[in-house]
C-alpha cells in the first residue's frame, strides 16, 4: 500500500508543489494584486497618517519643552525681582530707621540743652539768693556783735571807751 502510494505520488505530481509550474500564473496574479493593494493602502492612507502623527508628536514635544524652558526663565526672573524688592525694602527700612534715629537724637539734644540752661539759671538764682541771705546774716551778726560788745563794755567800764573804737575792734576781730 505504502509503496503503491509513493509510486503514485511520483507519477502524479512533482515532489515539490513549489515546482508545479501550472500554478505559477495563479500565484503571480494574486501576488501582484495583493502587493498593489498593500502598496496603495500604505502609500495613500497608512504611511502619511503615521508620518503626520509622528511629526505632530515630535512637534508637540518640542513645543512643550520650549514652553517649559520659557516658564523656567520666567520663574527665575520672578525670583530675581522678588529678591531685588526685598533688598530695596530692607535698605529703605534701614534708611528710615537711621533718619528717625537722627531726628530723635537732635530732639533729645535740644531738650537736654534747654534743661541744662534752665538748671544753670535756677542754680545761679539760688546762689544769688543764698549770697544775699549770707550777706544779710553777716551784717546782722556784725550789728548784733557790736551792740553786744557796746553793752558789755558799758556794763564793765562805763564811759571809758567810745562806741567808735568798739565797732572797729569788732570788725577787725570778725575779719580775722
Amino acid at each position: 500500500m505504502a509503496t503503491e502510494n509513493t509510486g503514485e505520488v511520483v507519477a502524479d505530481a512533482p515532489g515539490m508543489p513549489q515546482l508545479d509550474f501550472s500554478t505559477f500564473p495563479n500565484q503571480i496574479f494574486w501576488l501582484v494584486v495583493t502587493l498593489i493593494v498593500i502598496y496603495f493602502v500604505l502609500s495613500r492612507i497608512a504611511l502619511p497618517r503615521i508620518g503626520s502623527v509622528l511629526a505632530e508628536r515630535s512637534g508637540t514635544i518640542t513645543n512643550d519643552i520650549a514652553a517649559a524652558e520659557d516658564l523656567k526663565q520666567k520663574a527665575v526672573e520672578a525670583e530675581e525681582a522678588y529678591n531685588k524688592a526685598l533688598a530695596d525694602a530692607r535698605s529703605e527700612a534701614a534708611k528710615i530707621v537711621a533718619s528717625t534715629k537722627a531726628e530723635i537724637q537732635t530732639e533729645v539734644d535740644a531738650a537736654i540743652q534747654e534743661a541744662d540752661a534752665e538748671i544753670a539759671a535756677r542754680a545761679a538764682e539760688g546762689e544769688k539768693a543764698i549770697a544775699a541771705i549770707r550777706d544779710s546774716a553777716k551784717a546782722d551778726a556784725a550789728t548784733v556783735a557790736k551792740d553786744i560788745a557796746k553793752d558789755i563794755v558799758a556794763a564793765v567800764a562805763p564811759g571809758k571807751i567810745d562806741a567808735k573804737s568798739i565797732t572797729a575792734a569788732v570788725t577787725a576781730k570778725m575779719k580775722g
Binding site: V9, D20, Q27, A46, I50
Partner: protein
C-alpha cells in the same frame, strides 16, 4: 498534474491507519488548490493562495489603518506597533539605502509587511504559507532587481555600470573583479528569492515530518518537543527572513540611487 486527486487518495490511506506505519506528506501543505470545488488552477482561479494573501492584506489594514485611526498623540497599543514598524523600516531605508532612497520607503514597507504577515500567518496550524513558494518570492525579487536596474540607469545613465568597475582596486585586478561583480549582480534575484522561500519551506516541512513521527507512540514525546522547538525557531525565522529581504532590498537600492563610483 492532479494534486487534488492525490490528496484524496492520501487522506484515504491515512484514514486506514497504515497499521502504525509512518505517513510522510510534508509537502502537502504547500499544494495550491482551488478554494471552491475541484478543477484546474487557472490564472484567475480563487485558490488558497488568494485566501491567505487576502488575510495578509486584512491583517496589514487592521494594524496600519484601523490601528491608527484615532491618530492619537499618546498612542494606543496597536498604534504603537504600527509606529514601531514604520520607524523600523523608515530608519532601515534611511540608514542602509540613504536619504535619496526615501521615496522607495512605501515599497520596502509593502514588501516587509507582506512577507512578515504571510510568514506569521503561515505558522498557524492548517494554514498555507504563500511565501514558501518560489513563484511568489521570485516575483518580488525580480521586481526589486528590475527596479534597481532601471532606476540605476535612469539616474546615472551608462555611469551606472561604474558599480562593476572597482576604482579603488589595483588596475590589473579590475577586469576580474568586474566579472565577479557582474555575476554576483545577476545572481542577486536568485539568492534573494530562494533564501526566503527555502527557509519557509524547510521549516514547515520539518515540522510536518516531526508531526508524522508523533503518531508513533515510542518517539511521540520527543517528536512533540521537537515540533515545539522548531516552531519557536520558525517564529524567529519568520521575522528574520522578512527583515533580511527588506534590508537586502535597501542594499540593492543603494546601488541604484547613490553615486556608483565608490
Amino acid at each position: 498534474m492532479r494534486p487534488d486527486k492525490r490528496r484524496t487518495s492520501d487522506l484515504a490511506d491515512e484514514a486506514k491507519g497504515e497499521e502504525g506505519g509512518l505517513v510522510f506528506h510534508p509537502m502537502d501543505q504547500f499544494l495550491v488548490k482551488p478554494l471552491f470545488g475541484d478543477g484546474p488552477v487557472g490564472m484567475f482561479t480563487i485558490t488558497n493562495v488568494t485566501l491567505w494573501m487576502a488575510l495578509t492584506v486584512l491583517c496589514i489594514i487592521a494594524l496600519l489603518v484601523l490601528g491608527t485611526r484615532s491618530r492619537a498623540i499618546i498612542p494606543s497599543r496597536t498604534q504603537s506597533v504600527a509606529e514601531l514598524a514604520y520607524g523600523f523600516i523608515f530608519k532601515m531605508v534611511e540608514d542602509v539605502a540613504g536619504k535619496e532612497a526615501i521615496k522607495f520607503f512605501p515599497l520596502v514597507m509593502t514588501l516587509f509587511l507582506f512577507i512578515v504577515f504571510a510568514n506569521f500567518l503561515g505558522l498557524l496550524p492548517m494554514s498555507f504559507t504563500t511565501t514558501s513558494h518560489i513563484a511568489v518570492t521570485a516575483v518580488m525579487a525580480m521586481g526589486v532587481f528590475l527596479l534597481v536596474t532601471l532606476v540605476g540607469f535612469w539616474k546615472h545613465g551608462l555611469g551606472f555600470l561604474g558599480i562593476f568597475w572597482i576604482s579603488s582596486a589595483p588596475l590589473i585586478l579590475r577586469p576580474i573583479l568586474a566579472l565577479i561583480e557582474v555575476i554576483s549582480y545577476f545572481v542577486r534575484p536568485l539568492s534573494h528569492s530562494i533564501r526566503l522561500a527555502g527557509n519557509m519551506m524547510a521549516g514547515h516541512a520539518v515540522i510536518k515530518v516531526f508531526a508524522a513521527f508523533a503518531a508513533v507512540l515510542a518517539i511521540s514525546p520527543f517528536a512533540i518537543v521537537a515540533i515545539t522547538a522548531i516552531y519557536a525557531l520558525e517564529v524567529l525565522v519568520s521575522f528574520i527572513q522578512a527583515y533580511v529581504f527588506a534590508i537586502l532590498t535597501c542594499v540593492y537600492l543603494k546601488d541604484a540611487v547613490s553615486d556608483p563610483h565608490h
